[in-house]
Symmetry: C2
Subunit: 451 residues, 2 copies
């Protein structure tokens, strides 16, 4: 270990950080999970060459490497432990190219999604992947987890925005995957394979991504309240069935709304009410919003519509206050199951059943446009109690039974690895492990994660 | 070999075809290329179980298997030779489910893209992947090649439309990949890896795909003519730069237009003129078309716009007549390079240079919205002459130099395998081969293709 550290310092100088605070931070992410011991060192890579050096030394010494962006993950995917090198790509944060005519940009992995969007916004462009963490999460991390967000039903997931990647392999070799053209089918699609691979296959050191021209027209926001989450879910389904394609459609159950109502001192909320917020954009935004408003009213919702940007943000603030509101209730395990849209009501009913069975509260929000739910398991203390994991286990099994998935956008990381086989089955799991070995025969990249 | 055939017949009965005509058809595809000898047998699979039986027998006897849909490929990817089993999925052509609320459908691989769209159209839905071959190509083949088409810049490529796949592995095991939800990030994205894998990794036996609600509003079509292909390409670039997102934007150079003009006896075409056809759809279709028309006029184009569906089809007929027009000129090698949009003028200039250097004609059409070009190398006889391959070699090298790719939507198959390493490099090529071995350790799936 001393030898590894000495070699890192000899080759990388002050890019190598052994400060106790920095190492401690790398033991955790936003999931609340924390590793048992501090990693060996953190290398703050400044260049592709630095990343290659780290991986060459790691391969030669058999040292595990945990690649890490901003550490905003919710599945423990970038948490490091004793004996591991943390490879931070946060300092590689430049926008290398913005090509408006080709509608693409080339970025380093450490740039924050929000910052990248600010830079693009100045030119009338944007980057569609929009995880809730976008202000504080990196584009590299978004790609490594195939991040979702609020806009996916209309604007796709991160994978759909990635044209090409530069990746450093476990042994330090640099790969150039994908292309700058819209289309390209030369060989197997390793770019797509790399998206969402959670640090298992290589280190993303550069990305060529699609950028979009700013959507023309107004953004219309509708905030609505319904007597129950079932009513709100039915309203969301009716909007989709009417052929309306909202950019955002977010559902909050009564426990979530109650917590936010308390935090923000919202007036006029009745116990048991649920919240549905809908945004439309593009040339038909007003027309779609008017149609959505009529549906919400006809189904018994109290609803108001605004096309004023400031008022729109105010209407969205209820949904955006979910996380701070949850923090007041206790420690939170934020789950992330995804089901087909039509299974949302069934999934909400099952969550109520699980709440009752375990005597716990599970305030839940959902990206109603795409069927992705975030049930928040609330508990006391810092470690997730076994009973909560049992309840989560029932949640996962239910999502799979309803045709869904363990994780819609957060990834497997450490926290969900024990359920991986339940979704994939033995044959697929075995294939995935073999693919991992093709890229990383020594198993030094993010060991103990996912598999 | 006799033993293999006997086993196939014993287990699959009259699904096994040894008719000389059927076997001869399987020696070729729409590329014009033909294998040297007839395959051993063709199995017309009726079910997943049939596919599993074929692969089990193939694995036990070490017999190569070439999976084949409608045989409309343009790269020789589904061509079979002596000693190989042709596994046809054409008879597995049912639509198993259409779920309007979840905006997905489950289909067998043999359904024709056009037929699938007819069925969806009756319900007000459609399937976005739109290769020019859609009337005669299968959804399974579209997925196996990650087919593109005219609408990709606006509506994505086939990969973006695939949520999940059932795949039979080389040894006959059945895998269930992906999900029915919009989002899902459980483990490595093997669904995306399978899309475009050209029969190398497994046999697609069922697909869960996104379907879209019919686009509301009119479809506006503009046919325009410019003095030169450079002028027409500049007009296409100006339309994109103005923030207009056409659904279709197709460019024909003067040689292409001249050939079609002769075929259709078009009036008023002057020698040297190039053609640009633009379609817009969606709620802003009329507005975008008006803006595009103004741009085309301002840049010196003769242009006319129609929102009448019949007139729109008439305007598109020029582009649609490209293939029959080419057939009159001689035998055609249809190439498929793709470059960033802004490199289109440079690529057209290079094609002129290659024409002059080799003394050949290369009428070229381009999907101008996404930068995908189809240069048509014209020659006499049935085999592609070496000189044509030398010219194509220059074409490929040029596309790569301009930041593009060997193939935008047709695939590698047999015809482009010798150039694969040029684009991927040795390290990536080696990784791809190793991934192939993970799925197919004996190398019985589509041997001699791609790698």
């Amino acid at each position: 270990m001393t030898d590894v550290l000495a070699r890192l310092v000899a080759e990388l100088g002050d890019a190598v950080v052994t400060d106790a605070v920095a190492l401690s931070i790398a033991q955790a992410d936003k999931s609340g999970h924390r590793s048992a011991s501090a990693p060996l060192a953190l290398v703050s890579a400044r260049s592709i060459a630095d990343v290659q050096t780290v991986l060459r030394i790691a391969t030669e010494t058999g040292t595990p490497v945990v690649t890490r962006g901003a550490g905003t993950g919710l599945a423990g995917g970038a948490i490091a432990s004793g004996g591991e090198i943390v490879l931070s790509t946060m300092a590689m944060n430049r926008v290398l190219e913005i090509n408006e005519a080709d509608q693409l940009a080339v970025v380093e992995p450490g740039i924050l999604n929000g910052r990248f969007n600010e830079i693009l916004g100045e030119r009338g462009f944007w980057f569609a992947p929009d995880p809730a963490s976008k202000a504080i999460s990196t584009v590299g991390g978004n790609i490594a987890t195939n991040a979702g967000g609020l806009l996916c039903a209309k604007y796709g997931v991160t994978r759909d925005a990635v044209l090409g990647l530069k990746v450093v392999l476990a042994d330090g070799r640099l790969l150039d995957l994908g292309h700058r053209s819209v289309k390209g089918v030369t060989g197997l699609d390793l770019t797509a394979l790399m998206v969402g691979s959670e640090g298992l296959l290589g280190v993303i050191v550069e990305a060529t991504v699609r950028i979009r021209r700013a959507v023309p027209g107004v953004v219309a926001t509708i905030a609505s309240y319904f007597p129950s989450v079932t009513d709100a879910a039915a309203a969301a389904a009716a909007i989709t069935a009417a052929g309306i394609q909202p950019s955002v459609m977010e559902l909050m159950d009564s426990a979530s709304l109650e917590a936010v109502s308390t935090l923000l001192s919202l007036p006029g909320i009745t116990t048991g009410e649920a919240h549905l917020v809908v945004q439309t954009d593009g040339p038909a935004a007003q027309q779609e919003a008017d149609a959505a408003l009529a549906i919400l009213h006809s189904l018994g919702g109290r609803a108001s519509l605004s096309t004023d940007p400031v008022e729109g943000e105010r209407l969205l603030a209820v949904r955006r206050s979910m996380h701070p509101a949850m923090e007041r209730l206790g420690t939170t395990l934020i789950e992330d199951v995804s089901v087909p849209r039509t299974a949302l009501p069934a999934m909400f009913a099952e969550i109520v059943r699980i709440e009752q069975r375990y005597g716990i509260r599970i305030p839940t929000v959902a990206h109603a446009g795409d069927g992705n739910l975030h049930p928040n398991f609330i508990f006391e203390g810092t470690e997730v109690p076994d009973m909560i994991w049992q309840a989560a286990d029932e949640l996962f099994a239910t999502a799979l039974r309803l045709g869904g998935t363990l994780t819609g956008e957060h990834g497997i990381g450490i926290l969900k690895k024990r359920w991986l086989g339940l979704e994939l089955g033995d044959d697929q799991l075995d294939l995935q492990r073999q693919i991992k070995r093709v890229f990383d025969p020594q198993g030094i990249l993010n060991p103990g994660k996912v598999f």
